[in-house]
């Protein structure tokens, strides 16, 4: 484990965040991999500092119509190419999806606190829809040490896990067009009894409804679980306090997703 997660386990988080940089990059590909989902590859002009899966970047969409940067998880990184997987949901992602090859972008990276790995017998990775982008780097690093569950609306979104097709992935679709018919949390709960026999930890990323359902099925046992949260951000650097999520800390309930997160202990946040 130590080798895989040198930064999260050895280096103190404050040191990690010291290593952020604003790096110029050039778009090399920006392809629609599934309907409404794009894989963006950016060739960075200088190497990004080591990152922890779950960390994210703030990217400046090269268009004056977009005022703020937008946060995206580090999907993959092979020096000097940074990959982001994104879904078109609004103006920024719409414009980004139309941005051509060779356009220049600025990428502030790597940001936030990624997944923290303790020694466990088994890891379970759960994601729904575009949530796969937040755990993809983790899946790649953990390889066969983890069980991967992925839920999506329909078969056509399976393209999102094409890059991890060397690993076994349990799939659910809402319309039953592939794999388990239902939500990914329903699917997980079917395996939970078996999984619980081991000392496991769950890593999850997906829509709020998925995280809430997950919480419900884990509530009784308070299974260790880390979740990657999303919030609207202005700075991504902890400067504005715009991106908070409520936690159980009564003294200071609102924590910054970009700074104290985006990965939080499920049992410390109020979903």
């Amino acid at each position: 484990m130590h080798r895989l997660f040198a930064y999260a386990s050895v280096v103190d988080q404050r040191e990690i965040s010291r290593a952020m940089n604003d790096i110029e990059g050039k778009i090399t590909t920006n392809d629609e991999v599934a309907p409404g989902y794009y894989l963006l590859k950016v060739k960075l002009s200088r190497p990004m500092d080591p990152f922890v899966p779950g960390q994210f970047v703030m990217i400046r969409v090269p268009d004056r119509d977009v005022f703020l940067r937008r946060p995206f998880s580090i999907y993959d990184y092979h020096r000097p190419v940074l990959s982001l997987l994104y879904k078109v949901v609004g103006k920024g992602t719409e414009i980004l999806s139309k941005t051509g090859k060779n356009e220049k972008v600025s990428v502030l990276c790597p940001l936030g606190k990624g997944f923290y790995l303790q020694k466990r017998q088994e890891y379970v990775i759960l994601s729904g829809g575009i949530g796969i982008a937040g755990v993809h780097a983790l899946i790649r690093r953990l390889g066969t040490r983890s069980s991967v569950f992925f839920g999506c609306a329909a078969k056509k979104e399976l393209a999102l896990i094409k890059e991890i097709d060397t690993l076994p992935v349990s799939v659910s679709t809402l319309d039953g067009s592939y794999g388990f018919h239902g939500t990914v949390v329903d699917l997980l709960s079917e395996h939970l009894t078996t999984l619980r026999e081991k000392d496991i930890e769950i890593f999850a990323c997906g829509p709020a409804a998925m995280l809430k359902a997950l919480r419900r099925i884990l509530e009784k046992d308070k299974t260790p679980c880390q979740v990657l949260l999303e919030e609207r951000m202005a700075c991504g650097l902890g400067l504005c306090f715009g991106c908070v999520t409520k936690t159980v800390d009564e003294a200071e309930p609102y924590k910054r997703v970009c700074k104290e997160g985006p990965v939080f202990d499920l049992w410390e946040v109020c979903l």
């Binding site: 965040s17 010291r18 290593a19 952020m20 940089n21 604003d22 400046r60 119509d65 977009v66 005022f67 703020l68 940067r69 920024g92 600025s106 502030l108 919030e231 609207r232 951000m233 202005a234 700075c235 650097l237 902890g238 400067l239 504005c240 306090f241 715009g242 991106c243 908070v244 999520t245 409520k246 003294a251 200071e252 309930p253 609102y254 700074k259």
Partner: protein, 300 residues
Amino acid sequence: MGSLSIKLFGKTLRNPVMNASGTLGYGREIEPLWGVETLGAYVTKGLSLNPHHGNPTPRVWEEQRGLINSIGLQNVGVDRFFDQYFPLFQEKKTPIIVNFFGFTEEEYIACAEKIRPHRLIIALEMNLSCPNVKQGGISFGKDPDLVHDIVMAVKRVTKIPVIAKLTPEVKNLKEIAQGAYEAGVDGFTLLNTIPAMVVDVEKRTIPIRGGLSGPALKPVALKAVYEISTSFPVPVIGAGGIMDHTDALSFLLAGAKALQVGTATFIDPYTIPKIVKGLEEYLKRCRCPSIGAIVGAARG
């Protein structure tokens, strides 16, 4: 080469560029990118007597060339600020301006009293946009008499120079400034954000009501700086939509002695060091001996 240093309230600052309150966290968050000693002075996040939790999300929303925020003044309280975050500024010998607020006159006073004079604290900046809970929630900064009284009360309990940070949503800015001036205020910061709102047309909801900052505010802030700096013999610090050193020059030429940069930092976190560099180059290009020489130069 010309000098960027300025004198403010009797202290010398290395340059006239500050962050705007609430836009550079507690200061240390920017350290991975550049050091707080780059600043002429660091302006604290708005502090209060007791900690404040702030508002639920969404707290930020993008507008056309502008940002709407409704952070709700989340902060750790003035005590914890000095325990936990002030040491960085001591270590780096960076002057600070303490921005603070209250929801009652008593809170303002109690908060100001807690801040003991220190050679690095060059001023207290009173955020007057806060709702006065004892007066139906209308903000202190909208009434000249309220402004007069609260500035007077704060001046009475502190030896540190006091800056009034004004809100644009007033009937007559000059009248408000007059209230503060008569109470002995030492300077002004102009402007705070303008109240604004967003409608989500798809969802038919109002996702956020908050304060508008950024370039949209700039021409309004420039007018305020001009008006107040020509009317009162105390320094004015300009803020509102400064994105680059040209914007910074606009404010200086209109009469601001120093500047605060807020929203721009969110888009390019290097904006402040870039502005400092841009101003340095400007002085060189214009063979201008000091930045002070151009303050108010556009006013004719």
